[in-house]
Amino acid sequence: MTKSPNRMLATVFGVVYLLVGLLGFTVTGGVSFFDTSGGLLLGLFEVNVFHNVAHLLIGAALLIAGLSNVAAARAVNIGIGAAYLLLGIAGLFLIGTELNILAINAADNVLHFASAAVLLAVGLGADKKVRAVTA
């Protein structure tokens, strides 16, 4: 794991997202599953229960891939990075509408874009030789 940037990133991000998912439940008491406005995590990032569950699933996927092998870590980093990029863009239009079932706010969008940039850059840019061997 310490030799592959993809595995290291997937593991670290996996742990962070699992913690974020768990911490989210401390601010979503009384918030319903798809509520368009939720609690503020760290006083900044708005989350509802669905958002917490998404964080837990993403964290679990990243952690499992990071602990498994380089090919899995790369695939999951690129996949989740692309999903975050799409969610970041969609989030810009979802804020303030009834379709905002993840209770996204502007700080969430910034974090989603940042996650997308790092996950995609590492997924696309690192461990290329491994892909050539395993492909």
Binding site: T2, P5, G96, A126
Partner: protein, 195 residues
Amino acid sequence: MSQIVRTWLGFTAIGAGLIHLALVISSPLPIAAVVLLLGLAEIAWGVVTFARDWVPAPRVASAVAIAPLLVWSLLLVVATTLDAASLAESLPLLPMAIASIFELFAAAVLATHLRRARNAGAADPAPTLPSPGRYLVGLMAGALLVGALTTPALAATDAGRYAQPHGSHDDGFVPAEDDGSGTLTGIRHPEHGDH
């Protein structure tokens, strides 16, 4: 070129590309066409730089990195000399200055890369591989710095001014009637406390 520097190149190219694209709507047609093509080319080049083991077309890229700075400077000189501020006013200072910082960085890195390649007698020296920890820290530092510079640059463009602040949609934002000049003037913006 180390992998870390290559990711910085990719980030700066995409950052400069986004800024140039954001300048399209405020520019008259000839300048808009140039910044549109430039922005698209920069973003495409940045993505390929991330996705490949080598830097794509380093000679062309270094020329393209410097060209906007030269053209912008020339435009400012001509606008000042002819006392025609309208020539350069579609390219605001802050976004262009930040895009120029990215371009100068890219040009400097590419020049060093080309010189090393020439001295080594090879077209593209083998990339050095940093430790994963260093790579990740370097990559995140680059992403953070480019993001921190690109965001205010985008906010200072007309595209950024059109964006709804804080995601609020109210009646306080009314774009001005188009006077047919091709530039966006007289836009009324909501104050921070309005929403």
